[in-house]
Amino acid sequence: MNSFNSALFNETLRRHWRGMLYWGVALGVLTWMQVVVIPDVDALKDVANLIESMPAIVTAMLGTSDAAFFGTPEGYLASQYYGIMMIVFGIYAVISGLNVTANDEERGIMDVQMSLPITRTSLVLSKSVAYGLMLIGVIAFSFVGLVVGVAMTPALVVDMGRLTLGTLNMIPGSLVMLAFTVLAGTLFRRRGTAAGAAALFIFGSYFLDTLGRSAPGSFVDSLRAISFYSYYDGTNVIQNGLSIPNIALLSVLAVGLIGVGMAAYQRRDIGV
């Protein structure tokens, strides 16, 4: 970690902790609302019956192929929280990832910043670590909203341990989205290009995973292996607990993407 620069890290946190707070509180409230609107468990069963009648692609997009599980409180949360919120965290991850290099290059600030005695690798690493921590902070706020919501909704009798594991499981996947955006920013000078690449990566992975799940044994199903979403698999974590290999793989992928980004940024001309 000799590339780590604490001044850069602290400055990134100083400038963006408020933004993290706003995102965290907003998502916490959104999560809380997702939970407290559940009237009772019977209503969930009605929804489960409705889902059972839907095409496989739709149920896959809802984050489950198991309608009976969806009728349970955990199943509902797996779909509504661990499925949808992952996309929302992805938006925050992309916004943060663009801040590492792409935004400053686009605004023409990078020349002044890189006239300081810092290496390009330390810039990418220190800012990525700071944004990674803030991303975890946003997830933590959201989890608080979930816990409060569950506590205020007697109809929801859920295993909090599983929900905690499900939330922890979101961290590596979110970091992958952040890391990919950082990489895109280091590869491309244009913020729009980097954002487009990141969006393609996230939504491409999401749809590849969803389509594959809806057509087991198909060619698309075999392609799920290249979608990071298939290793995230929030529903499975709620049902069966953490998959350590998946978490390890996503964590290594996130670190690897940052590493490639550091190397890529070291090689190219800085856009100023």
């Binding site: 002044v112 890189m114 006239s115 005695p117 290496t119 001309d269 800085i270």
Partner: protein
């Protein structure tokens, strides 16, 4: 004996399709001098600066600052350099003081008392957000950021662009003081007057190629002026073609325009008792100085062009 602070050897930067922004630059800047780097827009001045700071990588050649390789030892170099970019952009939602503190921490601390002295001298308010500053004030914060750690080398790209004349004078004084303190200044500009005032030596760059490196007094020796005279009567407009130093004479009604190299006295004597309503003297552009210095056959012979 001069000690080389910046040295480039065959430094070249080409972009797509082989367009050379900088072509085999070989240059030496000595310690303790104010070195002007002159050229029209697009000449390659900013490209050179970016290469020295390792913001971009050369296609060929090499460069060193303080005897250190600009690529391999870029951090060590930047620790000892203060830089002002030609077009300064900073984080709009931050105040100057916040940015100064940030830069100070990355640099391992600076004397904040000195920062306040600089701000006072430049009449600059450190507490406003960047978005609230005018162009001239943004230049001032750029200068403070470049100067605040008292670097051994200042690399300034068009430093006075946007500064009012009073501030330009203060800037000139600060650069002279920097030289006195042993600092070296590498200053790019396309304004000849700025360079003439403070620089010891200048390099002229054109189309990415170094044309010459001269002492300023040598360069300005070839200085000339465009003189425009307006007479009361068309009939009294003289031709002045035989007056020493006069060339490129143009007559347009009551107005006579000429290129004068040397003293004004021969022209004034040649006017005799003609009634002159107005005289306008214009400094040559850098390009014109450059063409004069390197010879242009057309300029060597006085001729008169009649427009009416």
């Amino acid at each position: 004996m001069n000690t080389a602070l910046i040295q480039t050897e065959g430094l070249t930067k080409a972009y797509g399709r082989g367009v050379k922004a900088l072509d085999a630059l070989t240059l030496t800047v000595n310690q303790g001098e104010i070195f002007g780097y002159l050229g029209p827009n697009g000449a390659g001045k900013t490209t050179t600066i970016k290469l020295l700071l390792d913001l971009i990588r050369p296609t060929a050649g090499r460069a060193s600052v303080f005897g250190l390789d600009v690529n391999r030892d870029s951090v060590a170099i930047r620790r000892r350099v203060g830089f002002l970019p030609g077009e300064l952009n900073l984080w709009d939602n931050q105040t100057s003081m916040q940015i100064i503190r940030y830069f100070s921490k990355v640099r391992g601390g600076v004397d904040l008392e000195y920062v306040h002295q600089l701000a006072e001298r430049l009449q600059f308010d450190l507490n406003k957000r960047i978005r609230a500053y005018s162009t001239g004030n943004k230049r001032k914060i750029g200068l403070i950021l470049a100067l605040m750690h008292k670097p051994e080398l200042l690399i300034l790209d068009e430093p006075t662009s946007g500064l009012d004349p009073l501030m330009q004078q203060i800037f000139n004084q600060m650069m002279i003081e920097a030289r006195t303190a042993g600092q070296t200044v590498f200053l790019s500009s396309h304004v000849l007057g700025e360079v003439q005032t403070i620089c010891d030596r200048v390099a002229i760059l054109r189309g990415g190629q170094l044309q010459t490196v001269e002492r300023v007094d040598h360069l300005t020796h070839v200085d000339f002026h465009w003189v425009t005279l307006r007479f009361r009567d068309t009939a009294t407009v003289p031709r002045l073609t035989n007056v020493p130093g006069v060339s490129e004479v143009t007559v347009d009604g009551r107005t006579l325009k000429l290129r004068l190299q040397g003293d004004f006295d021969p022209v004034l004597r040649a006017l005799g008792d003609r009634y002159v309503e107005d005289i306008h003297v214009q400094d040559p552009t850098l390009e014109e100085i450059f063409l004069t210095y390197y010879g242009n056959g057309a300029n060597n012979h006085a001729k008169v062009e009649m427009k009416s």
